[in-house]
Structure formats: C-alpha cells, structure tokens
Amino acid sequence: MLLKRTIPVAIAFVVGLWFAIQYYVPTSFSERSLTWASNWAKILLGFAYILGLYSLVHVHWQKIRRGQPGYGYSLLVYVGLVGTLVLGLSGEVQTLVDIATGKAHHFADFQAYSTHDKPIPNFSSGFDWVYNYVFYPASATMFSILAFFIASAAYRTFRARTIEAAFLLIAAIIVMFGRVPIAAAVHRAIPDVADWIMANPNMAVKRAILIGISLGTIATSLRIIFGIERAYLGGD
C-alpha cells in the first residue's frame, strides 16, 4: 500500500504542485528543474521502450507458438524487427570500419565541412532502403486510404435529416468547393466565403470546445495532484 499508493500519490502531489508553480518562477533553478524533469522523463521513456518491445515480441510469439489464425502476420513482425535492426546496425558498423581504416572522414571532425568536401548523403544503405522503399510507401498507402474512407463515410452519413443538418451540409459543400483552385475560377468570392466559414462560425464552436477541454484538463490535473483521481495508479 505504501509503495503502490502513498508514495506515488505523494510524488504526484509534490511534483505536480512544483511544476504548476514553476511556470511562474523565472529563476535559473526553476528553469533547471524543468530540464532535469524532462531528462528524467526521457530516461524513463527509454526503459519503457524495453517494456514495449517485450510486449510486442511476447504477444506475437504467443500467436506463433499457439498457431493462432493469422500467425503469419506475427512472423512478419519478427522478420521486420530483426531485419531492420540488422540493416541499421550493419550500416553503423561499416561506417566505424571505414573510419578506422581511413576510408571515410569522421563526421564529427569540424574540418570535414569547413573544407567544403562534405559528401552528399546517399540513400543507399540497407536501412535507408527499408525506410525509403518499405516504410515510406506503406505509411503513405495507409494515409491515402483516407480519401476512400472520407468519400464513403460522407456518402453514408451526410444527409439533410434536419434543418441543422441541412445548414451543415451547405456549409460543408461551400468549404469543400472553396478549398480547390477551381473555385476561384468560378467566382473569386467562393474561397473567401469558405475562409470566412472556417474562421468565424467554425472557430467560435472550436473555441467553445477548447475552453471546455482546458477546464477539464485543469480539473483532471487537480484531481491527480490532490490524489482524488488514482485510476492511473491502477484503480482506487
């Protein structure tokens, strides 16, 4: 109880209160404490990545071991993980060997670029290949699926069921049309009207939501600082 509840709540209280006040204190100690805390956060994140990696590896290993449906995908996770790691490390090792044998400049050497002979990076190492020809297109593909999903979602749901919905529909069509270059060709005012809708009615609503969110954030922070909300410690 002491380790799992009292001490974490005490830490949350002290640190939370200090960093709430720190924002208003400009001394160098205050600034340094922020840097210090951020460094701690980075170190913790480093260790947490080990946990994350363990979770990923373990979950997929279980799937492969049990031969669950779709375990082939889990095998792919391993291939990707190990393959990228090997390619990344081999590039580093190669660079070190080149530097040791005098084939390459050490980039940390100031002279390397002061003599204007810094080579243009070539994107030919294995790791770069994976980045450029696997990660890049795969991510772009996922993102571009949005175009299809937006069209389908708009088609299924954007109906003028009520007067309010009809207003939204008209506004949406103006904004969508105003966001393409052809709109200016039809009428110069259309992009301006679209901008007006975005900057005024749309903004008013967003600000209202934002104020609510900010208040919610403040209340949540206070609940955590004062130990009222303890779900993040794993229940109450």
Binding site: Y24, P26, L56, L146, I218, A219, Y232
Partner: protein
Amino acid sequence: MDRARATCWRVVAGALALWCGAVAAAQDAAVPSTPTAEPARAAVPVPERVWIEDTPNDDGRKLTVRWLGADGEDADGVEVYVELATKPDGPWLPAAGPLPARGAWFRDLRSEYGPFTPSGTEAGHAVVVEPLSLDPIAPHRLLELAMMPPGDPRRVLGEREVEAILGKGALAKVREIIAAHGVKERAGIAGHVEGRILEEVSYFVLERPWYARLVLRAPGRARRIVAAEAPLAPQQNLFNLRKLNNFVFMVLLSAVVLIMIRRARRNPDLYLRRIPGLDAVDEALGRATEMGKPVLFVHGLNPMDSPSTIAAVNILGEVAKKVARYDSQLLVTCADPIVLAVSQETVKEAYTHAGRPDAYRADDVFLAASEQFAYVAAVDGIMMRKKPAANFYVGYFYAESLLLAETGAASGAIQIAATDSFTQLPFFVTTCDYTLMGEELYAASAYLSRDPLLLGSLKGQDWGKAVIIVVLLLGTILASFDIGWFDALVQTY
C-alpha cells in the same frame, strides 16, 4: 619592383591603421564620468542621465540600460551603442546598437516588463541587454585562446577567477578570459575549467556587477561616451509578474474546483446531465458478452503526459471493471510504451477490484505499434480478424481516427469514441454510434464511477465555465465601447 612597392605601401597602411587603432583604444580606455568631446568638430548631444536597472521577470540574465535626453533635433542621424564591461575601465563589449537616438522607443521592454512597465519610461529610452549573450561560444576560438599564455597582449584582454555553477550543479573555480578576437574584433567571455570547455556557459553565477556606457556616434561629428551612474548586478526574480493574471486565474479556478470537491464530500447527491455515450457502455459490453466476442479499447497516440491519455486511462479502469463483471474479454491497444505499462496495471487492478484477478491476461493489453500508420494497420487488422463486438476509441487522435472508426463500422461493431481532438470529432461523429466530445472525455471517469469527489470537480468545472462566459461577455461589451483597461488585464505575454 611593383611587388616591393606594394609591400612598402602595405607596411605604411598597416602602421597607419595601428596608429589609428591605438588612438581609438586610448580614447576608449579613458572612461570619464563626464562627457568627452573633441572641440574641433560639432559634437553629438549627450543624455542627461544614464543608469542601469535590473530587468524584472527573468532568471538574472538581463539588465535594462535606460537614459534620458539626447533626443532633440540635434540628435538627427545620431546612433546609440550600448556597451558593457565587468570592470569600470573595460574592456567594453558591444551589447546593443546601433539604435536611433531620436524618438522614444522601448526596445524589448514591453515583452520583458509586461503590464508593469516602469512609469516614466515613455519619456526616456531603454534597452534590454543580456550580458551573458556576449560570450563568443565558438570552441575552436576558445581553445586557441586557452592555448595562449595567460597574459598574451594580442588576444587576451583580461582574466579573473569567478565561481561558476556547472551543468550538474557543482560549484567550481573558473578562469574567465576576456578576449577580443575575430575579424570584427568582437569581444567576449569564455569559461574554461581545467582545460575543458564549459558545456553550459549560461550557468555562471550571475550576480556580478556590470558597468554600462553609451557611445553616441554620427557621421561627421565627434562621438561621445557617457558612462552609466553605477554598476549593477542582474537579479533573479522569484515571480514572473507578466504571468500574474494567469496565476490569479489558476488560483481562483483551482480554489473553486477544490471547494466544490469539499462540498461534494458533504452532499454526494449531485445532479449530472445524461451522457448517452456513457450510458451506452453497458449496452455495448452486454452485447459483447452475448455474442461471445471481445471488447476493443483503442488508446490515442499521445503519450502519458497528455491529459487526454490520463483521462483515457481513467475510463479504461472503469470499463475494465465492467468487463470483468460481465466476464467478457478486453483487448487494449497502445501506441506508447509508458501508456502500455500504466494500462496493464490499471486493467489488472480493475480485474482484482471486480474479484476476477484470474481473468486478467497481460497479453490482452499490448503495444500494437509506436508509429501512427503502423498502429492503424495493426488495430485495423485486429478488427477485421477478431471482429470485436464493441470498439472504444479514447484519447487524442490524429489522421488515424477515420481509418480506425470506418474499419470498425465495416466490421459491424458498436462504437463509442471519446476525444478532445476537435479536428477529428467530425470523423468519429459520422462513423461511431456515440461520441464523447471535448470535456465529456474528462467527465467520463467521474460519470462512470459516480465517485462524489470526482463529481464535485465537474461542478467546479461548470463554475469555471460560468466565470469564463462572464469574462467573455464583459470583454465583448467593453471592447465594443473601446474601453481598453480590461484588454490589458487579460493580455498574455
């Protein structure tokens, strides 16, 4: 022959330059407390008074040099340079300038002083200078300097021992070299400890007095040098007055929330408006149990320090308790390893709380991927293969929102989203059965748990909102009548 002549000229020119430099240096070295002038030429006007002030609201790095006068018609074309030194007789380091002598201007002043700009500043001139920013930094230069014998007259203009706080907080004796170098004869201070360059020059003990002087120049007129009245050490300030309004509002709002929590303790029956999305949680879990299919809880991409993620974990705790009671399976996908660790602990505790510790499986709470679209691919894959009966999207989402929710809709799951990411709200509204918008995300854990203390904070939030509405109305009315003082009150710096 030509070559010899050129060399000869060069020597003569060099000697001339040296002589001019020596004259200028002699002039600079003699810093009188009264204005100096060359009688032969019309001199530039001199200020009535020059003095140094501590710049407020800072960490002791800045000083404000102020002066009165020297801004009449005879100051046309006059340029003012501000120079600083750690000794009354120099060496002088250029700190600001050229600045026009005419006209009242307060460079950087408003952003430093905020609403508490000292009275009378309007009549004079002020400039904020940062003594420590004068250090030259370039390590190859510093190394070069460090290699030279300590008293080398060519480069090193002076040195002393000062105490410095190093990056890790240790105190050390530092040999400080004041050097002029580089083609532009820029001068600076270099910190040097046991032959090693200081990583953090900025952590010098700052409370050291600095001398200031103004150099007034105009083409064709004799320049004047005026020293400031007294040296001053920059002070660290304990409170940033520019943020005073922000601080008052924070204290007020926190007080309101805490008072409401206190009141809720005495009177737990608080009215809470219905949130249909949260009422539907039981329906969704019931459906999952009936169908014998899992419940999928999808975290947003933000890390644990984001308030929306903290709110998501709070909701996860409540959902997990209900899932444990319904004896259904809960799958939780995370994109951040710290969120993963916290979620695992939360779900485990929730199962224990519900009396079903045996039903908890650590593998059900997992890191799907830490990259945005890899995460989408992983979660979408789970949706299509396992066909969960209910999907929860809770936290802060980016472009992945529609990709997740549309796939979820296609898989036929009942979907509940809760997010404060307002750009993504339209996508969730169109594809989910229920959407918790903005602050509802933060209210959800209170709503689900019905804990009076949490409900009290909601009431405090409402009071805060009431205050903001009043401020908005008041501001709109006053601004409409062009009354400016209110604007200054809510101004941020």
